[in-house]
Amino acid sequence: MSEKAAITLTINGKDYAIAVEPRRTLADAIREDCGQTGTHIGCEHGVCGACTVIVDDAPVRSCLMFAVQAAGKKIRTVEGLASGDTLHPMQQAFMDNHGLQCGFCTPGFLMLAVGVLEREPDISDEDLIDVLSSNLCRCTGYQNIIKSVRAAAAEMRK
């Protein structure tokens, strides 16, 4: 074991002063040191995307980033999507279009889609499928995830 580094992670606008080993992934730090368990870990090798969070406005696989690399950056997770009781249009669209079943991959898909649509609100259907193919879902067959994200994109453009 190596020595722990004291860092501050800013998650959904709140500061968490934590001490982590340099090898600690952002995913583990978010879940275990900061207690935000909405971010899930599916493979720990950067393929499935379940752990996707938004770091400084870009979707990031938090299992491929060290916690120390995220210090001082603005991190957004699924817990920060809704404002109070009002769901983010992406969350609402996933509910309206049956874009989730077991819900394990859902936080990753929500953060991926929100991150991309914030940067590229007019993304083409083809590019959207390209982007969504970065994450894995084993329940929905993607049909209703694609439908949900398209519906949310239309809502977010309003």
């Binding site: 599916g42 720990e44 996933f94 077991c102 499928i129 067959g141 049909q143």
Partner: protein, 781 residues
């Protein structure tokens, strides 16, 4: 865009047949789901797994001061030894940690316990296991060869079970055939790959002496029974909770050694202990499936009518037998359901389960039916070719159209729509237009193909079906307790254990329909052995049929009670009362009473109903149905690149019939998800072992579930043939989507390959395999 033909929409019912939003979703989209891996623990476990496929353990050495548990520490803990009382089954036991011998790469040999997961992993890296290698047997054909090393003393020749069937008169009919058509099919090995890998968390309560085990399982009650049995503890001292479970697909219905160990440790340490499987462990050491060779021959008369089928099923069941189904789950399912939707009364089958030095095989969505449907539907296409008739016509000639029908294996098929769903699919896909397009494409050196798969699927079957297999444990029935509390709100406690299927929503729809309340007044509770009635969990396309049936039965009793109470309160005849909008109303008048008032009456004014109804408003329903057959026709259109062997799915269409649909949105979602797993099965997903028994596909870049890229829009068409074997008239549909794609897609690939005069009968039909066939054909003189 995906097409959607609505079914009956519930035939005028208020809640059944409606696509209401799921009650499961608000928590899950906000990151408020509660999964096993979210729980903190005082101790964490890391398993040290065998890197050798076969051999004898010489020594295990651990760093000083580390807590490392081995088989030697587990004296008194029983092996997992599932049992079948038929089919020459040889019971073999699996020790919780390898005891003296290792039998597959990934088998847990030692368990490191430390304060954090990181520390446990660091120590595990320092644990040395010295194994004297034995020559591994990886392939089932090698394992049954003469002189092959015996993997378990109890199973000579490595055959763990052997099922044989032959109808009287088979030989004569076989001899009378005009043509015999044969396929040698190969289904390679898959992993169900739920996005949440396995996890367990056991906490000891020093006040009660009980252990609470949270684990990611599809059957919490049976886990409690089985783990208590292994450890030798009273079942009442163990509480099992399946919290939110991130997909299962069958992989999470078998008992795993890891859960036994974590529970044992919590008792041993009198503390809390957690284990979260990583993806590599899931791919190498959780349960596998679908590894089969099937040779199937069909005897046809001169008019291409199928007279008889003869099958040889060789199923590689891995190193141990899974609990509770046993390793008979695949070969015996193949034997029982091989004839599928076709009218054929003569049948011979030999089905063997073979032990090898590979990860243990267990149930995975569809269990054998993706493989047997692939085999049978390839056979039908080969027969069509042999008779020079259209693949659709040979199916028209042979599909069962009269019901009820008794299969050659003795199964009772209830009313279904095999022929109708196929015609629906044929029309929707527009075969003539496709053939024109295919011809035009070929002229340009482009290769398109179309493939069909018609199949039936036994769903929602109760205990007699499991008893027929000779299982020592016969899961089947389900119990549901429905309670209307004194405030008029409803709680249903169920023994099923849904994990993504939306059963909390669909069961609420069934209750709402029956007792006239809105679904938002109903809470469905599951997954906790302290609060849910004993039940078998969620698997085998059963929960909506069986738990739904039990829910309806309990709700009818509640309804009868409400009518009695309303009759008293409204001074009206029960037959004049309707239950709707949360009220009992006297038809044709303005007299009404709320369900809350009636419920309060049922608890607090019981003297008014003395001798007529029991106090309270709580009823139980139990259901154990015989089983009901869903059916579907799947159609795939593919574009094949002969240069690379790459197959692009251009269209995928499903015409399915699962009886009455409770929630069309959820039903469609089940089909979508199933189809995409089937696409993986057909084209992409394969667990590959090398000759030494090491797995070459131990991450999600090498083992490839489909992404959004590989999946075309899935077009769904529905028919509803209400089941006569299910009180809700619903049939199961959780697995159906997975069953059709290997057959439809590989038939389409072979259609595209027609000009090259080669055929592929192996799944997954990867570019490498297709290229190898084309290369060999190019080289042939």
């Amino acid at each position: 865009m995906s097409a959607h033909t609505k079914g009956s929409g519930g035939n005028g019912m208020k809640w059944v047949g409606r696509s209401i939003r799921r009650v499961e979703d608000p928590a899950l989209v906000q990151g408020r789901g509660r999964f096993t891996g979210d729980l903190p623990a005082a101790h964490w476990v890391r398993f040290v797994r065998s890197a050798n496929a076969a051999g004898t353990i010489r020594s295990i050495s651990a760093p000083d001061g580390a807590m490392v548990i081995t088989a030697a520490d587990l004296k008194g803990v029983k092996k997992i030894t599932p049992m079948l009382h038929k089919f020459e089954y040889r019971p073999v036991g699996q020790p919780i940690l390898a005891d003296g011998e290792v039998r597959f790469v990934g088998e847990a040999v030692a368990a490191v316990v430390a304060a954090t997961e990181e520390e446990a992993e660091d120590i595990a890296d320092l644990v040395e296991i010295d194994i004297e290698d034995a020559a591994p047997l990886v392939d089932s054909r090698a394992a049954i060869a003469d002189g092959a090393r015996q993997i378990h003393a109890e199973a000579p020749g490595n055959v763990i079970l052997k099922g044989e069937a032959k109808t009287p008169g088979f030989d004569d009919v076989w001899a009378s055939a005009a043509k015999i058509v044969r396929i040698d099919a190969r289904s390679n090995r898959q992993n169900a790959t739920p996005m949440e890998a396995r996890a367990a968390h056991a906490a000891y309560d020093s006040v009660t002496g009980r252990v609470t085990l949270h684990c990611t399982t599809q059957m919490p009650h049976l886990m409690r029974t089985a783990i208590a049995d292994c450890i030798g503890m009273p079942e009442s001292e163990l509480r099992v909770i399946a919290p939110d479970v991130g997909g299962g697909f069958g992989q999470k219905m078998s008992l795993c050694t890891e859960y036994v160990l974590v529970t044992w440790l919590a008792r041993h340490l009198k503390s809390s202990v957690g284990w979260t499987e990583d993806r590599r462990e899931n791919l190498i050491a959780s349960f596998h499936s679908r590894d089969q060779y099937i040779t199937l021959e069909g005897a046809f008369d001169k008019d291409a009518k199928l007279l008889a089928l003869r099958a040889d099923v060789l199923s590689n069941v891995g190193a141990y037998s899974c609990f509770p189904t046993t390793s008979g789950v695949e070969p015996l399912m193949a034997m029982a359901e091989m004839p599928g939707p076709y009218d054929v009364q003569q049948y011979q089958c030999l089905a063997r389960g073979v032990l090898t030095n590979t990860c243990t095989m267990a149930a995975y969505r569809g269990v054998s039916r993706p493989v047997i449907t692939f085999t049978l539907e390839r056979l039908m296409d080969k027969a069509a070719k042999a008779f020079a008739i259209d693949p659709i016509d040979i199916r028209r000639n042979n599909l069962i159209t009269t019901f009820p029908y008794k299969s050659a294996t003795g199964l009772d098929y209830d009313e279904a729509s095999y022929r109708q769903t196929m015609e629906m699919a044929v029309e929707a896909i527009d075969v003539p237009a496709f053939r024109t397009r295919q011809q035009a494409a070929r002229a340009k050196g482009e290769y398109l193909g179309i493939g069909f798969a018609t199949f039936s699927e036994r769903t929602g079957y109760g205990s007699p079906a499991f008893a027929a297999r000779g299982m020592a444990i016969t899961p089947g029935w389900e119990t549901v307790h429905v309670t209307v509390d004194p405030s008029g709100f409803v709680e249903a406690r169920i023994g099923s254990s849904p994990h993504g299927q939306g059963l909390r929503t669909t069961l609420a729809q069934i209750i709402a329909e029956e007792i006239g309340v809105t679904p938002d007044m109903i809470k469905v509770v599951h997954g906790d052995t302290d609060t849910a009635p004993y039940g078998w969990g969620t698997f085998a396309s059963r929960s909506l049929v069986i738990s739904g049936g039990a829910t309806l039965i309990a709700s009818r009793k509640i309804r009868a009670k409400l009518l009695k109470i309303a009759g008293h309160m409204l001074e009206a005849a029960e037959t004049d009362i309707v239950l709707e909008d949360g009220k009992a109303k006297v038809a044709g008048t303005d007299r009404e009473v709320t369900i809350a008032a009636m419920a309060r009456e049922a608890y607090t004014q019981t003297h008014r109903f003395k001798g007529e109804i029991e106090p309270g408003l709580s009823e139980s329903g139990t259901y154990d149905p015989p089983g009901t057959f869903s059916n579907a026709c799947h159609v795939a259109i593919v574009r094949l690149d002969p240069e690379t062997g790459h197959v692009k799915l251009e269209r995928y269409l499903v015409a399915e019939d699962a009886g009455r649909i409770i929630n069309p949105m959820i039903a469609d979602g089940q089909v979508h998800g199933g189809v995409v797993q089937g696409i993986g099965n057909a084209l992409l997903e394969e667990i590959i072992y090398d000759e030494s028994g090491a797995i070459l596909t131990a991450n999600l870049a090498d083992y490839m579930p489909p992404t959004a890229h590989e999946v075309p829009p899935i077009e769904l068409h529905h028919m509803e043939t209400p089941s006569t074997q299910s009180v809700t008239k619903a049939k199961g549909l959780g697995e159906g989507g997975t069953i059709g794609p290997p057959a439809a897609i590989v038939n389409a690939i072979n259609d595209a390959l027609t000009p090259f005069n080669v055929e592929i009968d192996t799944i997954p039909a990867t570019p490498q395999r297709i290229r190898a066939l084309l290369r060999n054909a190019e080289r042939a003189p």
